[in-house]
Symmetry: C2
């Protein structure tokens, strides 16, 4: 639906390195083509281990509509002791012969990372010149890259110096966003480098980790938008310099190595769409025309409702009743009931369902059609569903973990989700429920990066700092995201637990929405009322209150109140959090009631170990 | 069987921190007691989250025969801005009250790691003095530890300065092997510190990783003998100084957090036995008496045989026949056949079996009874088996991954494994088979550390550098070990692969002995002979030979030979390796034939990607 906006021909070409995918070469080519890439970088190990000859690979790529943009066949071609340089030229020549058969014309050379590399930029330049001369005789251009762990040349400025001194038209600079940003360089490091001297642009992102850069690169590189580096800044600078080659992904990580190559290729493609999206604001007018435009992320994102599967026998209706929810309406065409308590809406779907799709999240994020179009551009799949006559158009998108996310217009609009419900005549007792504060979505560990990317790319949510907790059996990792504007806060939970350890404790293994936290104006009153209605809450042990007193020297009355009602407490500066968790129902689902005071903005992290150790 | 050597009372007391185990507090106490520890360190979060009151915990520990050696309830008690110090004293006082109920008398305080910690050792000393005064009024001693990531105090010498300046009998030094060694200190840093001023000794090991020390500590700390730090050196120095308190394990890692606490406690206990073992040579006479003596690891360890389960229909007999093995003998009482080819022995067990126990490894490691006694002291379990009359006493030990390891005496001895076989009359054609070069044992990733520890602690094998390879679906991690003396070389393989990715390629998921590499004097002749006998070998693609030529500029005749026979090749210095792999049989089992020339000592790592990408 967005294809009319794409200007084929002038647009930025998108590539990916075969090293970024699992599988053998033929699997990789199929996966890359299926995701719609224009070109590839061939990792030599993939070719060497392949039964396909270089000519057969070239033919296969042509059939799949892929150009071979880069080949990276030889390491450590410069900064080599002169007596060993003839062996380098021998090696380069043999690989140039292979490139002729492949029909590839750009040769990536990385700076020498061996302990015995010679620290003399003039020697490097001289050797690059010789390699350039040889490459030119094969019609090949060399792109020289500063590896972040290169022995002497490890910053882009040093590589550029070597390229300039080499003074050969076939010797150009390769820019790699990871290597640059990992060393602390940014776009400014490229100032003054003409675009026609940049021979290649590789892009990768990474989470910020304080560790050996080689290990960091090997295990944690990820696609743009999955990490925290300013990839777009560097890419914008390269494009503004006049570079017209492909933007090519080169990532490797433990997660990707174990993933399906078709899934990875799709992730890669959407990361480039997201990257272009970020480039929009950074590029000048003419260059902006080369982008594959998708509508921007919504201006604001608020929670509309949470949907839970509640077939006959489910515990949810009883829990909601106990918490003071009432039936607000019934769906016009489906066995779906809307429950409400003050500003909080929960929808129970009486049809049987299982897995993450048993839960859904409704968001208000107008304009709705833009979100749907953006989702399609980002290759996030639509939910397959039917819509009754006269019902709201609620585009649904399935997240990587399988969660269904529906998008509604604002109240009063024809496509407001509430119009699908016939109002109930039940009285609506109003308590102090302010609405949904945040929700937890439990996802498998190998989907975490993708799920994060889903909320980040589609809705523009901002990730908070990763958190990790010890739980009795394993680790609980949390990545929270929140809307820049709007009330949506989602905490993605990953529970890593030994497979053979009995689950007497710990958070549920079931995936999907696993916890709803509701904000109240008076949590003491709400917990008292819910208890009176028969709702059971986790009760922190007495040791917890002794510790609270040690940590915060609490006012005696407040401590007595917390103890009496079994509330958890946290304080940061002047902000205070009082909260309580219901006992889990339906295989692990919990409700948290909380009261924020004095601008407390967190989630009570210091109490997580107490919650996790509670018997279930 | 070794208990007679233990001098109860005078021996070193063994402890472990509850933070080192998964589970909730009561699980941890049970697991620690079951493994035979003398005492514990209580992690405050465990107590705070426990429904047991401190008095109940004290009673439970007394019932289990565990002393509470340490409590670690408050962080950042020194280097605090003076106006905030009263709150510290409040907190300490509350926790001292808890200690009174616990009956614990040593309070661990770590150096302040907050960004706003005050960098003034005199202020730290003054505040420690005040805490000491308070602690003394409760009959408690404080042990002050330099956290490796402390803001200002992060080396043991700095902590000792603060302790000395505090000048209070209740303020002592805590020594932690991890924190010291992580900062580059060793035993020498303790010179001159009197043992009665050392209040506590915590031990942990770690693999050497170049990363943020806090992250390193959180995720990779391991038990002594599982890492590579000189833990024994520091422990010996502390004991020689006159310290008489417990040696207490404090480790945490992702693996342990997901493991069964009973397994972890046993691992911890055996790591202390191994530590004492290493201490033997380092301690002076009187102190050596305090060790729980186990017999030393064998002087040399050679391979006797490899046993594979080969019930009717198995492909092994055909493969061995094709490779030139002949039947050398039949077991006196069991359906077990000994096959031999030159110096290589493989035993086929015709009884059906599954899993890692379907494979066994026979070693020559005299004296046999010492190995059995050592295994018992290290808590490695014996194999449950029957022994026929007149048969050799071959003690069997089950490795953590389930591999059965049998220990034989030398040839000619009554307990030589060969005496169990009635020699066959079959002719023995002698080719150039030198024997088993090395074997691969595939283990689950969460057992790798333990399996490494098994071979290291029981047989004294030395681990080589960890290696990691990309395989088409996932990662292959290899930890090789070899005997200091003797021909045993074992490579532990871990294959980490996405669970839902089809296994078209890659090494087998089946655990146990997955590959046998035999050394030959002429691999070309052996491969030719085996092929003529119908054995099928992996055939590297043509691209591989083009690449070999590029890399090594090989002699034309050698290259032609390699190509003709489908051999792989590697060269390091003057050493050369020529090798070939059979196609896998029985769900992934492979035989490698190799020829080492000119002192080549590795395993052909540069060819691993070609082997792994080969279709199966």
């Amino acid at each position: 639906m967005h294809s009319s906006r794409i200007r084929k021909g002038s647009r930025i070409r998108k590539g990916i390195a075969t090293v970024s995918l699992s599988g053998v070469l033929d699997d990789k080519l199929d996966a890359i083509a299926a995701a719609g890439f224009d070109g590839i970088e061939i990792f030599d190990n993939d070719l060497v281990a392949s039964p396909l000859s270089p000519r057969e690979v070239a033919r296969r790529c042509a059939d799949l509509g892929l150009s071979i943009d880069l080949f990276q066949p030889v390491r450590d071609i410069e900064a080599v002791a002169p007596e060993r340089f003839p062996a380098v030229l021998h090696r380069v020549r043999r690989k140039l012969e292979v490139m002729t058969e492949l029909g590839a014309t750009v040769f990536l050379a990385c700076s020498n990372a061996l302990p015995d590399a010679v620290g003399d930029v003039d020697l490097s330049a001289e050797q690059l010149h010789a390699v350039g001369e040889l490459a030119a005789s094969f019609g090949v251009t060399v792109a020289f890259e500063a590896l972040a762990w290169g022995r002497h040349i490890n910053r882009v400025g040093q590589a550029w110096t070597a390229v300039e001194r080499a003074g050969h038209p076939a010797i150009t600079l390769a820019v790699d966003t990871f290597h640059m940003l990992a060393r602390g360089d940014d776009a400014a490091a490229l100032t003054g480098i003409p675009g026609d001297r940049i021979g290649f642009l590789q892009v990768a992102d990474a989470p910020v980790l304080d560790m050996n850069v080689l290990e960091w690169s090997r295990h944690f590189r990820c696609f743009p938008g999955q990490g925290t580096l300013d990839v777009a800044g560097v890419v914008a600078a390269v494009l503004e310099s006049g570079y017209t080659g492909p933007v090519s992904l080169e990532i490797f990580s433990d997660v990707v190595r174990e993933a399906d190559p078709f899934v990875t290729a799709r992730d890669g493609m959407r990361s480039l769409v997201f990257l272009e999206d970020q480039l929009g604001a950074r590029l000048s007018g003419a260059l902006r025309e080369t982008l594959t435009a998708a509508p921007p992320a919504p201006q604001r994102t608020d929670v509309a409702f949470v949907e839970l599967a509640a077939p006959a026998g489910s515990a949810y209706a009883e829990l909601l009743t106990g918490l003071g929810f009432h039936i607000e309406g019934r769906h016009r065409s489906k066995p779906v009931v809307r429950w409400r308590n003050g500003g909080a809406d929960v929808v129970l779907n009486e049809q049987p369902a299982a897995g993450p799709a048993a839960t859904a999240l409704g968001l208000v994020a107008p304009p709705v059609s833009d979100v749907a179009e953006r989702a399609a551009a980002l290759l996030w799949p639509a939910v397959d569903r039917t819509r009754g006559a006269g019902e709201a158009d609620l585009p649904g998108i399935t997240s990587p973990s399988g969660l269904h996310v529906f998008v509604s217009s604002e109240p009063g609009d024809a496509d407001d989700w509430r119009t699908d419900f016939v109002p109930s005549t039940e009285a609506a007792p109003e308590h102090g429920w302010l609405g949904l504060d945040h929700l937890d979505v439990t996802v498998p560990s190998d989907v975490l990066n993708q799920e994060l990317s889903f909320f980040r790319t589609l809705f523009g949510l901002e990730p908070e700092t990763p958190e990790e907790y010890i739980q009795p059996q394993g680790r609980l990792r949390i990545r929270a995201l929140r809307a820049k504007k709007g009330d949506l806060r989602v905490a993605l939970n990953v529970s890593e637990t030994g497979a053979d350890v009995p689950q007497r404790h710990g958070i549920p293994q079931q995936h999907g929405i696993s916890q709803l936290a509701f904000a109240t104006a008076d949590v003491v009153a709400e917990v008292r009322r819910a208890r009176a209605n028969g709702v059971e809450f986790l009760r922190p042990p007495e040791n917890y209150y002794v510790d609270l007193d040690a940590r915060f020297a609490l006012d005696t009355a407040l401590l007595a109140t917390l103890r009496e009602h079994g509330l958890l407490y946290d304080r940061v500066g002047d902000g205070e959090l009082l909260h309580a968790y219901t006992l889990p129902v339906q295989g692990g689902f919990q409700v948290e009631l909380l009261e924020r005071r004095g601008g407390y903005d967190g989630y009570g992290a210091s109490n997580t170990h107490v919650r996790l150790a509670a018997p279930r």
